[in-house]
């Protein structure tokens, strides 16, 4: 395969030799041109170098496009005014949702078909709702898993930013009687060092399903349906044992994508203690809960290589991805 360096060299030569502009355009920018070929080659680049390569390639493409446009304009008779259409302009005029919102709304639509309503809860939480009522007492080693951001108000009262969307389960149980079918999308916060896959603020979608017969089997049915609709194809899914204090049993959900299993969500049958903490004592009521990271899903779906882009407010990122159709 031809390398980007070779293409750059050839392009320089072609410019120097004033290659006919239409021929040049065809050679580099057509569907079978060099640029398209180089883009196809991205998949073979090692992951660490992908973004640098992509950047370089985009620069080259833009460069050639501008050159072609400029020369074509000159060719045209001057009484016809041609405005170069900036790609970015076009995109920004279209508008779009952040990939996070788009995905959350898509998730809402899928679950809506299954009878799940959307519930919300506060981002500013108490220790009681974020931990204690979810069967994570102070002494529990599992508390280490959630690196908490603590907050203090002017009166000195301590609270926290929820570390997961699971507290919504309790809030909802307190105010609604089973049967319950909800999803709860929203922001969560973690005190941790950021890198390309870790952020201090990100989004989760929580799910809760309670009635008199919801079982592990029902959960499998629901989650299979969900991923099939989300990916618009049959997706292989597996459950494997895990541990969360608020579910018993607990599972991790993996999906089979690009020849490997990807951990995509945590789930389980709601722990009786949590049901009781939410005011549900009827032993006939049972069901499951699940939660997944929206950013992680978005990164998989859209090929985003750095989670920090989500909060970058950079139009070059935001204007690209809002319009991706699932």
């Amino acid at each position: 395969m031809i390398s980007i360096e070779e293409v750059i060299k050839e392009y320089k030569d072609d410019k120097k030799n004033s290659l006919d502009i239409d021929k040049l355009e065809y050679k580099y920018l057509s569907r079978k041109g060099y640029i398209a070929e180089l883009f196809k080659g991205i998949k073979d680049i090692i992951p660490e170098k992908k973004s640098a390569y992509g950047k370089k390639l985009n620069e080259l493409k833009q460069n050639i496009e501008e050159y072609v446009l400029k020369n074509k304009t000159q060719q045209t008779e001057s009484n016809i005014e041609i405005y170069p259409i900036n790609q970015l302009d076009m995109q920004s005029n279209l508008g779009g949702l952040s990939p996070i919102s788009r995905l959350i709304f898509k998730i809402q639509d899928i679950f809506d078909e299954l009878g799940f309503s959307v519930a919300v809860g506060p981002e500013l939480e108490s220790e009681k709702y974020n931990f204690d009522l979810l069967n994570i007492p102070e002494s529990h080693p599992a508390r280490d898993v959630w690196d908490t951001m603590w907050v203090q108000n002017p009166a000195g009262i301590k609270s926290l930013l929820r570390t997961h969307t699971s507290p919504v389960q309790i809030h909802y149980m307190e105010n609604n009687k089973p049967p319950i079918r909800i999803i709860a999308p929203g922001k969560v916060y973690r005190y941790e060092a950021t890198d390309s896959t870790h952020e201090t603020v990100f989004h989760q979608v929580e799910g809760l399903f309670l009635d008199d017969k919801a079982s592990i089997s029902t959960f499998k049915g629901v989650i299979n349906y969900f991923f099939k609709e989300l990916f618009q194809q049959d997706v292989k899914i597996r459950l494997r044992p895990s541990y969360f204090p608020f579910t018993e049993p607990s599972f991790e959900i993996d999906i089979w994508l690009e020849d490997k299993w990807l951990e995509i969500a945590g789930a389980g049958m709601v722990n009786r203690k949590v049901l009781e903490n939410g005011g549900i004592t009827d032993p006939n009521i049972q069901g499951f809960a699940f939660g997944f990271g929206v950013e992680r899903l978005a990164m998989i779906l859209y090929g985003i290589d750095d989670i920090r882009l989500i909060h970058s407010a950079d139009i070059r990122f935001a204007s690209q991805l809002g319009k991706i159709q699932l």
Binding site: S217, M269, H311, A313
Partner: protein, 764 residues
């Protein structure tokens, strides 16, 4: 928990699964596997070499030139700077092309005029120790050309099991034996018991154990003698030697070499052999043991008690530790000799010249150990196991195993004492098998359930006439206390893959959160008219709610508005593009949480008032589109730094750059729906005019619009803002006006009259 595959295979001899197959099965049935790796792979292209000639480098005082045989007639010339290099040594040679664990790439180089083809490595360079002085000298028996990884016993598949998330199952999975038991279970193989030797109950220890706190359930001590036969020189550890020398070249402590190899594979530092033995017991059985130098322990009593606030403990590593009320400590007649379950003391530590040791095997309260260890940030291997709760039965098992391991080395047991209760009381759980089937949603037969429970060593009883089975778990499963916990065992061993996926749920009407739905409509409508959604960080330089552990020290507050982030986003992005339309919907935090919308419609050529107006008209459009009465927005036009009202209540504002922020939490409660009513289609055409007026700098578009409204007749049904142009001290505003009479066609003259009136008004 890292466990070598060979160790599992030892305990489960019939195991036929390859490491990969086993990892897959463990993942599906038992625990999460963090990683699988071969520590020997890091030492590729590093082989045993034999030094055949050493000559000083002609151009450098500190360098030597060595001729090293590394294979059949393959002799490499290598320049080496180590002081301890000697003729005849067996050494680790990194050949050209090798990459060492520290990332160093070995290439042929010229060092002061001398070509060098490879490197003779130190233990540190091989990633075996944190520091070393000189090159690693291998045992004389090591065969030339053999990969060093093999000589060091590092060619092993290691399975790293994630115990973090395991909760109460963690202790069961934190030992070789526990994992092997699980493997035997999920592969349907027999588990080979470990070799034990009996505890010498008749040899009474000459010390009394006194437990003075209920935070220690059980305490036992075993005294061993005979270490004086072996000379242990701790200096040997720092002289660039590696553990391998301890058991091949010297003769200090004849532990089974596999113990040393196992510790090496697990990357454990080399200690006194007695301490190494204790560490091995911990990995193998899951029971932490502590080794005291028996001669340094004073008096006749060993006391287990709770510390008092302010007491000081001198730890093994030289640290002075300030204790709190309730920390569990072990004391001799004079002082605190160990922080129970976490770390031993300096005064009784083993070292050169230790002849007798006291080995402690005990059980401490997991919550208390956790509290103390976290407070002191001493998460030792011991503390990590105790804090997750260990069955008390393991204390005796560890001692029985330890005695078995030292018997071969010729050490003698001198005495033994124990105190406390060494049995776990397991709760009987009454399990209804119908509930099992209902909970899992699979038709698992009674027989299958019984089989699974039996394979787990769970005692199952069913009394006549009762619907439920009574279950008692084996001692190592402290986590089985409820029906659902037993159901987990049944479900995972039955196989999650075997549970059918059923979507037999009743169709129900959804009723989603109002604010969420409003947010969604708002977002989608804004996107339709060209707005791009952004997300920005919630941290701010100022605010009401303070973060106690801010991720960014310069922004220790939660933001109270979005407008600043939006203004910054516009500023940052304005270099890429001429027109920006951005919005964000996020919570902000005053004393409570509010959902806000920020909007920015910015154009390079516009001034801030124009930007504000554009943005504002977009907001109104969207509100109307969603079906709410936008006429209740009191302002017809706004400029920068205005307050926005809806139904006379403040709901938002614009900042100096023209960005708008709206408090959705407030707005949503006062929004009223559009009252839609049909008006008959006008029979007569409208007459449209644009008019430009020149006014002083102080007049706003809103003022002008109001003025025009007061001048024209009711036939003017629309006044729209079109343009604004600064002209020195005055401003030109352009408005678009539409006129219509419902009864007849308007003539041009009639409209011109109205326009004249306006122009006359502004000309004066």
């Amino acid at each position: 928990m890292k466990i070598p595959y060979s160790i599992i295979k030892n305990s489960v001899p019939q195991l036929t699964h390859s490491p990969e197959e086993l990892v897959n099965l463990i993942t599906l049935k038992s625990y999460e596997v963090d990683s699988v790796y071969n520590p020997g792979e890091a030492l590729k292209n590093v082989v045993v070499g034999h030094i055949q000639k050493v000559t000083p480098h002609p151009n450098a005082d500190k360098l030597n030139i060595a001729e090293v045989l590394v294979g059949n007639n393959e002799v490499l010339t290598i320049v080496c700077g180590a002081k301890n290099i000697e003729l005849g040594q067996k050494v680790a040679v990194a050949k050209v092309g090798a990459t060492l664990p520290n990332g160093l790439n070995i290439q042929a180089v010229n060092l002061r005029g001398q070509d060098s083809f490879g490197m003779i490595c130190s233990a540190q360079e091989l990633g075996l120790q944190d520091a070393s002085d000189g090159i690693l000298v291998l045992p004389g028996l090591a065969e030339v050309g053999t990969p060093v990884a093999e000589v060091l016993g590092l060619n092993e598949v290691i399975i790293d099991i994630d115990n973090k998330g395991l909760g109460t199952r963690a202790s069961d999975s934190s030992s070789f034996y526990g994992v092997a038991r699980e493997v035997a279970l999920i592969t349907n193989n027999q588990l080979k018991p470990i070799d034990f030797s009996p505890i010498p109950f008749k040899q009474k220890l000459k010390k009394n154990i006194k437990i003075q706190t209920n935070l220690c359930k059980y305490y036992s001590l075993l005294e061993l003698s005979g270490l004086s036969k072996y000379k242990f020189d701790s200096n040997i550890l720092s002289k660039g030697t590696y553990r391998v020398d301890l058991y091949v070249q010297t003769d200090i402590f004849k532990l089974d070499s596999s113990i040393h190899k196992t510790l090496a594979i697990l990357n454990q530092k080399t200690h006194h052999p007695a301490v190494d033995l204790g560490n091995y017991i911990l990995f193998e059985t899951g029971q932490p043991v502590h080794i005291f130098d028996a001669e340094k322990v004073k008096g006749d009593n060993i006391i287990v008690r709770e510390a008092k606030k302010g007491e000081i403990f001198n730890a093994l590593d030289g640290a002075e530790i300030l204790l709190e009320d309730g920390d569990i400590v072990i004391c001799d007649s004079e002082e605190i000799i160990a922080l129970a379950g976490i770390m031993g003391g300096l005064s009784t530590s083993v070292g050169d010249g230790t002849t007798r040791v006291l080995i402690e095997s005990a059980n401490f309260d997991h919550n208390r150990i956790r509290q103390t260890a976290r407070r002191l940030k001493l998460l030792t291997e011991s503390a990590k196991r105790f804090e997750r709760q260990i069955p008390v039965e393991l204390a005796d098992i560890a001692i029985q195993r330890l005695i078995n391991l030292v018997e071969k080395s010729g050490l003698e047991t001198l005495g033994y004492a124990n105190h406390g209760d060494n049995k776990t009381e397991h709760k009987i759980v009454h399990l209804d098998y119908d509930y099992v089937r209902k909970y899992i949603g699979a038709d698992i037969s009674d027989n299958d359930i019984n089989q699974i429970l039996k394979s787990l060593n769970i005692e199952v009883n069913k009394s006549f006439g009762s619907k439920k089975h009574s279950l008692i778990s084996p001692y190592w499963r402290l986590d089985l206390n409820t029906s659902e916990e037993y159901i987990e065992e049944i479900a995972r061993l039955y196989g999650y893959d075997n549970i059918p996926a059923k979507l037999d749920i009743a169709i129900t009407q959804t009723k989603s959160d109002l604010v969420f739905n409003f947010k969604r409509q708002l977002s989608e409508e804004l996107a339709k008219i060209g707005y791009t959604e952004i997300l920005t960080y919630p941290y701010s330089e100022e605010g009401s709610l303070q973060l106690l552990n801010p991720v960014d020290e310069t922004k220790p507050y939660l933001r109270q508005n979005l407008i600043k982030s939006m203004a910054r986003a516009i500023d940052n992005n304005s270099k890429y593009i001429d027109t920006l339309k951005l919005f964000e919907i996020s919570n902000v935090f005053t004393s409570e949480q509010h959902l806000h919308l920020s909007l920015g419609h910015w154009h390079k050529e516009n001034d801030n008032n124009n930007n504000a107006n554009q943005t504002y008209s977009d907001l109104l459009k969207v509100i109307a589109q969603i079906g709410f009465d936008y006429n209740k927005f009191s302002n017809k036009l706004i400029e920068s730094k205005n307050i926005i009202h809806y139904a006379e209540q403040p709901v938002g504002w614009s900042d100096e750059s023209g960005v708008i922020e709206v408090d959705i939490s407030v707005l949503i409660n006062i929004l009223s729906p559009i009252k839609e009513r049909y008006h008959s289609i006008p029979k007569y055409p409208a007459v449209k005019r644009d008019i430009t007026v020149t006014v002083s700098n102080t007049s706003s578009a809103q003022d002008i619009s109001n003025t025009i409204q007061s001048i024209v007749s009711p036939r003017c049904y629309y006044i729209g803002f079109r343009d604004k142009f600064q002209n020195g001290d005055s401003i030109n505003y352009t408005f678009h006006l539409e006129f219509r009479d419902l009864e007849r066609s308007l003539s041009d003259e009639e409209v011109n009259k109205e326009i004249d009136l306006i122009q006359k008004h502004f000309v004066k």
